[in-house]
Symmetry: C2
Subunit: 495 residues, 2 copies
């Protein structure tokens, strides 16, 4: 590294005054040790971190409340989720599921000509840079899904702290590092750095082999371009922006308009609208009396303070911009009743206006605002679905009489997760979860940032041809010392 890189380092957490370059070198050394560890070791490390979070919960939640303004119940739930995620990914690592061990024995009669013995296993990428988000100070921050998945894969992590919760980030990193130390994980396996320019230098460091990011489309695209411009481009798993449109079919709307509106408003205003899966567009049949259920449901809504002044200002600007659209009209404006807290703002727009200006469908208002789109005939549902860009989620509300088969098919081309008669906010951590979608929702639509599948993002297949048993990695040895389920000569074999 050049001297200029050394100068911009702002050491945090450890006392040695290490520069970012030193941290990355240590992280690489830790990776070299972690990749030799057994999956059982890695599970132990992740469990130790989860235990550490549990033990330090009160202090962490107090700091999080102070820095994020999020309500205590939400933060408690998020911390439970974060520890659960570490344990689930640890268990997944232990059973070797992400390794995909595949063995082809030598075969003289292989159809294209004799085949040598060849065996493949997934291996960790190296040092991973993780950029945390402000809106989930636990679950998508210091030791959130990206860090957990990278550690489960056998990588080391250098986490760039989000400026919205610097004290919490530092305190969480202390918990993580202490837990790893007690569990005898390699020194330097996890490190925290902070500062905008540090973030830029981090993604350009030659030892960094992958980057995970959750944030805005603008910030994510800037990182994407920076990483694409590296002499050696590396995988960039960026979650950028999503407006999560929800399509309501005619019969569903006729049958339960009030219920849909109530659910919609709750989903729009939960966490003061600061969720990447907040429904930004609700697409419903034209309904002259739509104001009635909105006003009745809207009366119950509470307002809330946003995470940071920066997000508040950006939100207010995006709402003001939407106000200025000639095609928009205001359906609900709780905003003006309050001073320092944001309440729900709902716009209305016609399907015809949106189809004439489909780029409006990508306008994300990050906060408690959303847009009700009124369609004049059901065919416009498909037209609108075709007009949206890549999304994290898309929703369908339909009853038995509604024919939404084609609509679902179109939306499956656009989104990572389709939600039926429910709301996109609330993302469970499980085996089948998919949190990701085509650009701009993410920069790597083939992967997920939530659920056990996330571990695979930080792995890369390596094949071994003609290796003797003792020189093979354990998952590929004939003796199967780790007891893994493997694909052998094309067939899956249980241990």
């Amino acid at each position: 590294m050049t001297d200029s890189t050394r100068r911009i380092g702002t050491p945090v957490v450890d006392s040695g005054g290490a520069t970012m370059h030193d941290r990355i070198e240590r992280a690489h050394h830790a990776f070299e040790l972690s990749r030799r560890a057994t999956p059982a070791d890695r599970q132990r490390w992740l469990e130790a971190i989860a235990d550490g979070l549990d033990a330090d919960a009160e202090e962490l939640i107090t700091l999080a409340r102070h820095e994020s303004r999020l309500p205590e119940a939400r933060l408690r739930g998020e911390l439970i989720r974060t520890a659960f995620q570490l344990r689930l990914l640890g268990a997944e690592a232990k059973r070797g599921e992400p390794l995909d061990p595949t063995i082809d024995h030598a075969d003289r009669d292989w159809g294209m000509g004799p085949r040598p013995d060849i065996r493949r296993v997934n291996q960790p990428l190296g040092v991973v840079a993780v950029f945390g988000a402000s809106n989930f100070p636990f679950a998508f921050s210091v030791i959130g899904g990206d860090s957990a998945a990278a550690l489960a894969a056998g990588c080391s992590v250098v986490h760039k702290a989000h400026s919205a919760h610097p004290r919490l980030a530092r305190r969480t990193a202390e918990t993580v590092i202490e837990a790893l130390r007690l569990a005898r994980a390699p020194d330097g396996l996890f490190a925290l750095v902070s500062g905008f320019r540090i973030g830029e230098a981090l993604v350009e460091h030659p030892l960094v082999q992958a980057v995970a990011f959750t944030g805005s489309t603008r910030g994510g695209r800037a990182l994407f371009d920076r990483i694409a411009g590296r002499p050696q481009p590396i995988p960039f798993f960026g979650e950028l922006g999503s407006t999560n449109p929800v399509f309501v079919a005619p019969a569903a709307w006729a049958a339960r308009r009030e219920e849909i509106v109530r659910g919609f408003l709750a989903s729009v205003t939960g966490s003061v609208g600061q969720l990447c899966t907040k429904p930004g567009f609700l697409i419903v049949p034209r309904d002259p009396s739509i104001a009635a259920p909105l006003t009745s449901a809207g009366a119950d809504l509470t307002a809330g303070e946003m995470l940071t002044p920066h997000l508040r200002d950006a939100f207010r600007t995006s709402v003001a911009d939407f106000h200025r659209l000639p095609a928009s009209r205001v359906l609900l404006d709780a905003q003006s009743r309050l001073d320092d807290a944001e309440a729900a703002t709902l716009f209305a727009i016609t399907a015809e206006a949106l189809l004439a200006e489909p780029e409006i469908l990508q306008r994300e208002m990050f906060g408690p605002a959303s847009v009700v789109v009124e369609y004049s005939h059901p065919g416009q549902l498909i037209e609108l679905a075709k007009a949206v860009d890549g999304q994290l989620t898309a929703g369908i509300h339909a009853d038995a009489e509604d024919d939404v088969h084609d609509l679902a098919r179109v939306l499956a081309e656009k989104a990572g997760r389709l939600v039926w008669n429910a709301w996109p906010t609330g993302v469970t951590v499980s085996y089948a979860q998919q949190h990701g979608g085509p650009y701009p929702a993410t920069t790597a639509s083939g992967t997920t940032s939530v659920g056990t599948g996330a571990v695979r993002r930080f792995l890369r297949p390596v094949a071994y041809q003609g290796f003797p048993e003792t020189e093979l990695p354990e998952p590929l040895r004939e003796s199967n010392p780790w007891g893994l389920r493997r694909r052998i000569d094309g067939e899956w074999v249980d241990p």
Copy 2:
């Protein structure tokens, strides 16, 4: 599309004078039909193409001999490989292996809070642009691995013909299109386009959702930059360049120097050195008598004409550049004995010189030339391994007394495939094959372009939350109509 894009279209294969834009629109329509097809249908299409290649083999081989100058036996073997590959990937598609169907039933007691019913399956990306290579006019060209994998995934393919074999490309496309027509595949599922500017426009077309490329580092990087600059960046599976270093440990060298040199020269000169896995560096103990086995083995070598005048000129330039390196000396120069055919050129360089200028390790001479690196102590094997960039392959020759455990570990960080006591050329198509590695070997090190794993490059996971049975894609239905092996609530379940 703009008018300027329409102007640069040069229609080939079909008689309708379609522009590239029209072809892509048709390909997208075909994709919409293909994604609804069953895996059994897709297998039938791939089988039909393989049968078509078999039926037209003589004509195709005659054209290939004429345009590629490759020997007939090699071309026959390559065509067998190409048909085999189509059938293997078709069978893989039929068994649903690449779909990864995963089902999490609703669970009120899920550790982080109640879990909804959520199910995930991989779905095809859309229209895939494939750029063929000149050096495998069948296996990495019109209907080579990339096209076969994309079709097996359920995508449609627009293939950009390589200018080195235009007539063969056109004739192969006719075989493919006719086979697909007879098999009643969707019209437009496969199309051929040609021309340099067409290639540029192709990767920028909004309906193109992935690009696969095999070629030079320069050409690949230019495409990479163009795709990264799209308003909507898409996955780019580029195979760029690789020097495939082979590391020979001391005991192996002492025991079988002649055998190693013979194998090395055969691997360097096969197909006139025009293989992406040709060993570009052979790293051996310093040996004052190394010229003896080289001269004796080199005497048997035949020379050959290169694929194109462009490749020949580029090869000669790269060899001349290596000549000019102060640290290099010539070990074998069969070059001068021949006029219009290239024979083996071998250079020698010391490990010390390479470690002082490690960028030399990335110098690919695409043709029958290679470099013998002489090390003065075994520790330099690891130092050199650490100095190489991303590779498709890395080789190790070792005997029982050689300790190459650490060497293999370092090389696993650098390459997609490690080869033990054998040569990297010759890439079998199987379940465990991994043809890919960190940049610059490829732009997507998590994926492979050869073997059944290649199908996954053209798929993307989509989750369905709370969907009723009839609205779910078949692989996710409780009734499992396609009889797939699935992961259900974390456990793999056979049908």
